[in-house]
């Protein structure tokens, strides 16, 4: 009888602990390693259908300048999350300057139809750490535990 009660209490408590961990993973702020903001310039060559370089890594607060160099046809660049856009004709480098104040991983895409694979002409801007990826991965681990417990009940 006592075993049963304590068994049930354990069952309840482990869910509380799990819920607590989920809460922590979701809302615990990331350790901030503050870096002095610097000016970064990236010269991106756009061709059909890739950006080169396609992955840009900066620290939060950096002033980022993207120089878009179209090498074959007119290309564009739009950054998700920052809602910034520019278009470059071959021979006319376009410049985009902004402060990377939002952290995470943001895709940038081509905005001028440049051929068949245009909708998949994608690059990535990584500012600081990718909180969503970290939280998602840790939650995946917790999901594993939760799924197992759910059935054991």
């Amino acid at each position: 009888m006592i075993n049963e009660i304590s068994g049930r209490r354990f069952t309840v408590w482990r869910w509380v602990v799990l819920a607590g961990m989920v809460f922590l993973v979701l809302f615990l702020p990331f350790p901030v390693n503050a870096t002095t903001p610097v000016d970064r310039t990236f010269r991106i060559q756009a061709s059909r259908f890739e950006y080169s370089p396609s992955v840009l890594s900066v620290h939060p607060g950096d002033r980022v300048t993207i120089e878009l160099l179209a090498t074959d046809v007119v290309h564009g660049l739009y950054i998700d999350g920052y809602d910034l856009e520019t278009t470059a004709d071959p021979g006319q480098t376009a410049r985009l300057t902004f402060v990377a104040d939002r952290q995470g991983s943001f895709r940038f895409r081509c905005t001028v139809t440049c051929g068949n694979m245009h909708p998949f002409m994608i690059g990535k801007l990584q500012v600081g750490h990718n909180a969503l990826l970290w939280r998602g991965s840790l939650l995946a681990g917790l999901a594993l535990i939760a799924g197992a417990w759910r059935v054991r009940k």
Partner: protein, 475 residues
């Protein structure tokens, strides 16, 4: 299932009855029979509603082919590309499959002309019928051809998804194949064994909340004529239906049963999962693994930042494409099946639970179904959500000829979904993982032997896959 049902289920299995489903008496309490609902019944009983929907999808299909062949070559302004690969694909992955199982098959136009020829009439069967009605060869049964078809799509996906002409010809090809097969073989041979869409729709239908099942098996046992089987275009025997993967929800059995003994049930999600199987057939396992592998490959190629991969996938016929193809096939034929088999084998070894490896693999592959379903939903959201506004503009100007039928032709470039879309994708991947985990544990529990050791390798497989998808989609 709740605990009472679980206990009853286990009792039946432990009794060693090879076909536990025969002893089921009435519709389980968790089922809602839609066919008994007064306003739904006439819609399913009459042939007209389904026929009208299918006529519309057929007209839409023909229109899509026309747009693909004659419309603008610019994919974003062509009805064929936008409607097939964005509108219909999104509807399929987000609505038809998760909520309706094989519901698209019930309204799909591809099989329609073939069915008309086979039954000699458009609305119902008539006397003069066409077709040789041969039985489908035994060697070609199962979903092997469907998996191969899907792999083929994967190899040529960069071209098909972006070229309106190619899309149109693929649709024409499928259409033609369906008609030819209907004239040679009985029933919906194309749908059951060839159609790549039918393949994965079928396996994911096991997770869906809709099913067609018999109500009282004793009535069926006493009924000798088996009208349901005679009329089923999928060649199924409703009373023996274990899971929903082969049933195309066409409702013919419902209409033809003289005893009104068939039900269209709403049921809890994943009701077909978690049952121990006796079968050692690996075709569905292979298909589930191909879907998982393809989810990774497509995510990397289409929504990843690696231009070299995209160029390789697009340059069909070049050495770079051959390399891409090799990598794609290696992933789907070697890496995924190999690591899954390894995980199952390790689980067996570690737990000491002895059973035929083949059967164990076939059984455990059910775990891959929620995982794959949600990975595909997340991937679909990732590439289709930013492009949904194209649907609006293409409805007004389907051919890219400068029309503006509904005034929406100049819908400006897409709104910023980058705020919630990644969060949604993460949530979906987590749901898939959670669900797969519970299926894995349910399976192990049924077997009741060293549950933790048996399941851990497989759970690791699922976790690694989920982390990979997370990284590809939101990393």
């Amino acid at each position: 299932m709740n605990r009472l049902q679980e206990a009853a289920w286990e009792e039946r299995v432990s009794q060693g009855s090879s076909e536990p489903i025969r002893s089921r008496r009435l519709t389980l309490p968790e089922r809602i029979d839609l066919y008994r609902i007064p306003w739904i019944r006439p819609l399913l009983q009459s042939r007209w509603p389904q026929f009208l929907i299918r006529s519309l999808t057929l007209a839409g299909f023909v229109f899509t082919i026309a747009a693909g062949l004659f419309g603008s070559r610019v994919g974003s302004h062509n009805f064929a590309i936008i409607f097939v690969w964005i509108a219909w694909w999104t509807a399929l992955k987000l609505v038809f499959i998760p909520l309706g199982g094989r519901s698209w098959c019930s309204v799909c136009p591809i099989a329609l002309p073939g069915e008309w020829l086979q039954q000699g009439g458009i609305l119902e069967k008539r006397h003069r019928r066409f077709g040789l009605n041969l039985r489908w060869p035994k060697r070609l049964r199962g979903s092997w051809l469907q998996s191969s078809g899907f792999l083929l799509i994967g190899l040529f996906s960069a071209l098909t998804l972006t070229n309106a002409r190619v899309t149109a010809w693929v649709l024409v090809g499928l259409f033609g194949m369906a008609i030819v097969l209907s004239l040679v073989f009985e029933r919906r041979a194309f749908c059951s064994y060839i159609c790549p869409i039918g393949g994965f729709t079928g396996i994911y239908a096991k997770t869906a909340p809709v099913e067609v099942r018999v109500i009282d098996t004793k009535i069926c046992a006493a009924h000798s004529e088996k009208t349901c089987y005679q009329n089923c275009p999928w060649g199924l025997y409703p009373v023996a239906l274990r899971d929903s993967s082969q049933c195309g929800l066409c409702m013919e059995c419902l209409r033809s049963c003289p005893k009104d003994n068939i039900a269209v049930n709403l049921r809890p999600f994943g009701s077909d999962l978690g049952q121990a199987r006796q079968s050692s057939r690996l075709d569905e396992t292979f298909l589930a693994l191909v879907m998982i592998g393809s989810a990774l490959a497509f995510s990397a190629v289409f929504v990843g930042p690696w231009g070299i991969l995209k160029s390789a996938a697009f340059a069909i016929g070049s050495p770079a494409w051959a390399l891409y193809g090799l990598g794609f096939l290696a992933l789907n034929l070697v890496v995924m099946p190999g690591s899954f088999a390894l995980a199952v084998w390790m689980g067996q070894r570690w737990s000491g639970y002895k059973t035929q490896l083949r059967r164990a693999i076939a059984n455990q592959s059910q775990v891959l179904l929620p995982l794959g379903l949600f990975a595909w939903i997340a991937f679909t959201i990732s590439f289709a959500l930013p492009k949904l506004n194209y649907v609006l503009s293409v409805v007004s100007d389907p051919f890219g000829w400068g029309w503006n039928l509904l005034g929406t032709a100049n819908t400006t470039w897409s709104p910023d979904v980058s705020g919630f879309s990644p969060i949604l994708q993460v949530a979906l991947l987590l749901i898939g993982l959670l669900w797969s985990t519970s299926v894995a544990w349910r399976l192990a529990k049924v077997n009741n032997q060293s549950v933790f050791r048996q399941t851990l390798p497989i759970l690791t497989f699922c976790l690694v896959f989920s982390l990979a998808m997370l990284w590809l989609l939101v990393g």
